[in-house]
Subunit: 214 residues, 2 copies
């Protein structure tokens, strides 16, 4: 038998799938769905139901073996165990087109409200209308530290990406979502980095297609 007070760490693939599941459950909850079976989730997530059950089982806690999972309860458990309800605050670096889009869209998703946004151009800072407090990029470290910001979103041009990352890390940020087309690494620092690139995704798609089928 295994203790529920397991190793509080899950395999990375499991962790990423559960994070996606969390969002999906939120959507099901909005749609007034009470219960879901692992088989239904299989269709919704493109993850085999075996794997879903295993993932949830690895979490340590789940509902009794009823007909499927209780959507709200499972979501709450996930939020707790994954630390998704911790209410981390986030900042944005770069107010170009993409940054602007995120700045305005962030209002829609209340999960991660922006605590600050930065840009290297004072002019652009003055022209941008938003409720989010704006600062010059040179202030990143200070503001991140003072507001205890946990993660930063980088949407600056390629040549400025590394400096942005370094400033975020210097300020104590623990996570970075990097949308600039350069790869940011921080293997030696205790920082989680996610590099997102449209071109990169298209490359992966092209490669899969090239390997024929699916």
């Amino acid at each position: 038998m295994k203790f529920f007070t397991d190793k509080c760490c899950l395999p990375p693939p499991t962790l990423e799938r559960l994070a996606r599941l969390y969002t999906l459950l939120g959507r099901l909850e909005e749609a007034q769905t009470r219960r879901v079976t692992s088989r239904a989730l299989e269709g919704l997530l493109s993850v085999p139901c075996h794997t879903i059950r295993k993932d949830i089982s690895l979490l340590g806690a789940a509902a009794k073996a009823e007909r499927g999972y209780d959507v709200a309860a499972l979501r709450q458990t996930l939020g707790l165990r994954l630390g998704l309800s911790a209410g981390y605050s986030v900042c944005l670096v770069g107010l170009g087109r993409l940054g602007g889009a995120i700045l305005n869209q962030a209002g829609a998703d209340r999960r991660y409200p922006l605590a600050a946004a930065f840009d290297a151009s004072m002019n652009r800072i003055e022209l941008t209308r938003t409720d989010v407090p704006l600062y010059h990029s040179t202030q990143i470290s200070r503001v991140v530290r003072e507001k205890a910001i946990t993660a930063g979103i980088i949407t600056v041009p390629p040549h400025a990406a590394w400096e942005a990352a370094e400033r975020l890390i210097a300020g104590g940020a623990r996570g970075i979502v990097n949308f600039s087309p350069v790869i940011i690494t921080a293997a030696d620092k205790p920082v989680v980095v996610r590099n997102i690139s449209l071109t990169g995704e298209l490359d992966v798609i092209a490669a899969y297609i090239h390997m024929q089928g699916v």
Copy 2:
């Protein structure tokens, strides 16, 4: 010994790493770098050098055992074997803030030029200034088929995402990059889907942080 005309399919993790490597090599080439060792790539990609060598070895072909890899040669090999030089054409569905950002930025990255863009609002189509041909969303299937577009980028609001995906697939698209906050699945169709979500990435970061350290 193994034939170079191996199984033309690689393990998914390898394929994704090699796709990232391709972009990185492009950047190194721009910076006039002639050679890279697997150890240097380790730092640049946050992938262990063992794994990098293995990946390249799995490709089937690589340079002679010299001091590191020839940047240009390796990049060309990758492009060929991964089908990244195939010149696929791509379209964009949704001209909101994010779509607009991609529309204008796409010019910067010449790798995947947009062959068309779509929106559900005629008004917005008329207001948007760009060299990319614009169409109403109802035309997706037709245009995708006629222009032999390989992949679509979805940046529409959540409620419209599924319809956009279905139209792309109906038109014969083989790949989808979905930036809308709903998960699109096409497990039963021969289509590669990449769901990208800022909130999702922040969730993953939060989860990793919660599991303490790194």
